[in-house]
């Protein structure tokens, strides 16, 4: 009996212990994905906590917010980024200096992984040779070269603005280019110079020349782990395992790992397991069809549909009453319609980034909030116009019948406006299926996860494996609403006959 109780207690404890979790984050580029996966697997092997990886959480701002809010416990970061972007320090800091500044934030930086992935400018070898450009300084004499720089590089203090000043470069600030697409652009000769990372696998593949940073402008970007300060105490065994990653890499090793993912089409998990000395029997990657129906298909489909359905449901529940308010109360009309209109003009990534600090969370909640906000306009506007467009005579006759306003709304006006309202809901649903792909950048899942990975890897098959089902879902939703419309609308009214002509 005692033994049984002990066994039960052990099971319970076992359950409770397993509930201890470690969540690893990563940014939206190959190296960060791979390092995140390696950190996750290393933590998993320590056997102390359930380790999970939330990959590709957008840029520094989003992944840092996730760490600060405790959504993730640790992620791979670079000392230069911590110093300049996170701490906004104007002077160089060593690891001790970083930690002193991070302490009040409840964060720590440590476990130097052993390589420096700094920014660099790269040109096609043949073009560089033709122009005689070897260093960044040489660019100053060639204002005609076309720059193709990433958004982040253009925006960061230690990126383009500082570089332009330090080297007195005559080039004007170019439009931002997604880093995943920059190599295609330079290979096609559309741009001459791109920003790259020194551990970038594609530098070799695309035969690029890294321009020498002869004025030592770019700071050191040593890869480290940035983690919540309580992590070593909370999970000591896991932490010991992670600390063993110190110095486990060098630049060449990292380039090789990046190349395995980007050039040889291995999954991040495979690359990470390979690095840790594991071999998985099953090899993923391969054809588009294989990737399309990879094991995560149903999870992504579920997440995607859930994001759209929940946000749409809430938008209907709030948008239709708002539309009625705009119809009934002229004083509120302009406010309501303008407000939902303005929301629509906010770029989606900006809205997501804005909602993260508001909710103190990344992932599903801010994604749902953003999708809900985007879904409002079509529903509110169509509810309002559907009601406002009812033939005045019909409204008058309902008044003449002595029906009170609420009854008129319910029995006469809303049914007459139902087709317009349904069209608004359809528009919102289709738009949300598309917008939900962007939710993956803040860790909300869905088919956007594949699109983000595909972009980061410059891997069209993975990108399409996300984009095609998302597009199919949009068509499915559209078709579903068409059927609903046919089912709800009587035959005779479908030819566009308006109530006023009856």
């Amino acid at each position: 009996m005692k033994a049984l109780l002990a066994a039960v207690a052990l099971t319970l404890c076992g359950g409770a212990c397993a509930a201890e979790t470690l969540t690893v984050g990563s940014k939206r580029f190959t190296e960060s994905y791979i390092l995140g996966e390696i950190v996750m697997l290393t933590a998993q092997r320590a056997g102390e906590a359930q380790a999970a990886h939330r990959p590709g959480l957008g840029n520094t701002g989003i992944v840092y917010a996730a760490l600060k809010n405790g959504e993730i416990d640790v992620y791979p970061e670079y000392t230069g980024t911590i110093e300049r972007e996170i701490l906004k320090s104007t002077q160089p800091l060593d690891v001790d200096g970083l930690n002193r500044a991070l302490q009040p934030l409840g964060l720590s930086a440590g476990v130097p992984l052993g390589f420096n992935n700094t920014y660099a400018l790269a040109m096609r070898e043949d073009r560089a040779q033709a122009l005689g450009i070897r260093s960044v300084s040489d660019l100053a004499a060639h204002p005609e070269v076309v720059l193709g720089l990433s958004q982040e590089f253009i925006g960061r203090a230690d990126g383009w603005p500082g570089l332009k000043k330090a080297y007195a470069l005559p080039h004007s600030t170019p439009h931002g280019l997604d880093h995943g697409l920059a190599y295609e652009a330079i290979a096609a000769g559309q741009v001459d110079v791109i920003d790259a990372y020194t551990t970038d696998a594609k530098i070799g593949r695309f035969k690029l020349r890294v321009l020498k940073d002869d004025k030592l402008f770019f700071p050191v970007y040593d890869a480290v782990l940035l983690y919540r300060a309580d992590l070593p105490q909370r999970l000591p065994r896991t932490w010991a395992a992670l600390a063993a990653l110190r110095g486990a890499f060098d630049e060449r090793r990292m380039i090789a790992l990046n190349a395995e993912a980007e050039l040889n089409g291995k999954s991040f998990n495979e690359v990470a397991r390979g690095f840790l000395g594991e071999r998985r029997a099953q090899a993923s990657g391969g054809s588009f069809l294989a990737r399309l129906f990879a094991p995560d298909f149903w999870r992504l489909a579920y997440e995607h549909v859930m994001l759209v359905a929940v946000s749409l449901f809430v938008a209907i529940a709030i948008g239709i009453p708002l539309g009625i308010l705009a119809y009934r109360v002229p004083a509120a009309r302009q406010w309501v319609l303008s407000a939902v209109g303005v929301i629509q003009t906010i770029p989606s990534l900006a809205l997501f980034a804005f909602l993260i600090p508001l909710f103190g969370k990344i992932g599903t909640i801010p994604a749902l909030a953003a999708l809900f906000l985007y879904a409002l306009l079509p529903i509110v506007r169509n509810t309002y116009s559907g009601l406002a467009d009812i033939a005045p005579g019909l409204r008058e006759s309902a008044v003449a019948l002595g029906l009170p306003p609420d009854y008129r709304l319910r029995v006469i006006e809303l049914p007459l406006a139902s087709r317009a309202i349904l069209a608004g809901v359809k528009t919102s649903a289709v738009i949300n299926v598309g917008t939900a792909t962007i939710a993956a950048f803040i860790g909300a899942g869905g088919f956007g996860e594949r699109i983000a990975q595909g972009l980061a890897l410059n891997d069209n098959a993975t990108l399409l494996a996300g984009a095609v089902p998302a597009a199919a879902l949009a068509l499915l939703v559209h078709g579903g609403f068409e059927l609903l419309d046919r089912w709800l609308m009587p035959e005779g009214l479908r030819d566009g006959e308006t109530p006023s002509s009856i």
Binding site: L394, A400, P404, I502
Partner: protein, 266 residues
């Protein structure tokens, strides 16, 4: 005609308005649609209101139908002071005591004849079986027994107007207001429906007020005609009064214009 009118028994007063005015504010301008109208109408009277566009006919109909309240003046409907009622009380009067029929019928486009006719009964809280039965009965009465499950777009203009008329009569209102009820119909349908309406009205025994542009139609239905101009009543009387004893030069002008229109049409 004189004799017919004079022997007609006069019931109690249903409508008693005294010197009502109605102003509409349109932007910065105030438009006076009614400029002091006084009118007494007894139960079972049939009245036709005529006059050019903008003469205040529709505004007067809205006042009589309790769709709107006057800016000044007194209005008693069945002895109750309407000018002082709130929206709910006005709605209750419209629902129970007044039936309205519009030129454009204004039937619910997606609902069957039966459901359109039932509508006032639903709100009055009558149980579904009774109201369906009553709606079907009155539709059968006006020859639409085989059209009860048809929607407005499956009915002819005349049939639609009969449905609209039955809807207005469903709660047995004391007053029936018709705003150019036959104006949207073709001449043949119009003529047929004129006969039907007359039969229906004769059976009902209600106070009926109708706006029409057609003097022949007015004379066909109504005991008395009211001619309006610029928000005022110019003359009230039988057709004979208007023809032979005009009180204003405008009456003669209006009557001869109607006649020449009739003449050119014939």
């Amino acid at each position: 005609m004189e004799t017919r009118d004079s022997i007609k028994p006069r019931g109690p007063i249903v409508i008693d308005i005294e010197n009502i005015t109605k102003d509409y504010v349109m932007g910065e301008e105030t438009v006076r649609a009614l400029r002091g109208v006084s009118l007494k109408i007894h139960r079972n009277e049939y009245i036709a209101i005529m006059g050019p566009s903008g003469s205040g006919k529709s505004t007067l109909m809205n006042m009589l139908g309790c769709l709107d309240t006057p800016t000044s003046g007194r209005y008693e409907f069945n002895g109750k002071n309407v000018a002082e009622m709130n929206d709910d009380e006005l709605a209750a009067i419209r629902n129970r005591e007044i039936g309205f029929v519009f030129q454009t019928f204004n039937l619910l486009p997606r609902s069957t004849s039966l459901r359109n006719v039932e509508l006032p009964l639903i709100y009055a809280g009558i149980d579904p079986e009774t109201r369906e039965q009553r709606a079907a009965e009155v539709l059968a009465d006006v020859g639409l027994g085989d059209r009860i499950h048809h929607k407005p777009n499956e009915l002819s203009g005349g049939q639609r107007q009969r449905v609209a008329l039955m809807r207005a009569l469903m709660l047995d209102p004391a007053l029936l207001l018709l705003d150019e009820p036959l104006g949207a119909l073709d001449p043949v349908t119009r003529h047929a429906l004129q006969k039907d309406l007359k039969t229906i009205f004769a059976r009902l025994g209600k106070t009926v007020i109708m706006v029409t542009h057609d003097m022949g139609e007015a004379a066909h239905f109504a005991g008395e005609l009211i001619l309006m101009r610029d928000g005022k009543i110019v003359q009230r009387g039988t057709l004979d009064d208007l023809l032979k004893r005009p009180t204003d030069p405008y009456v003669t002008e209006f009557v001869s214009a109607q006649r020449s229109a009739l003449g050119s049409a014939a």
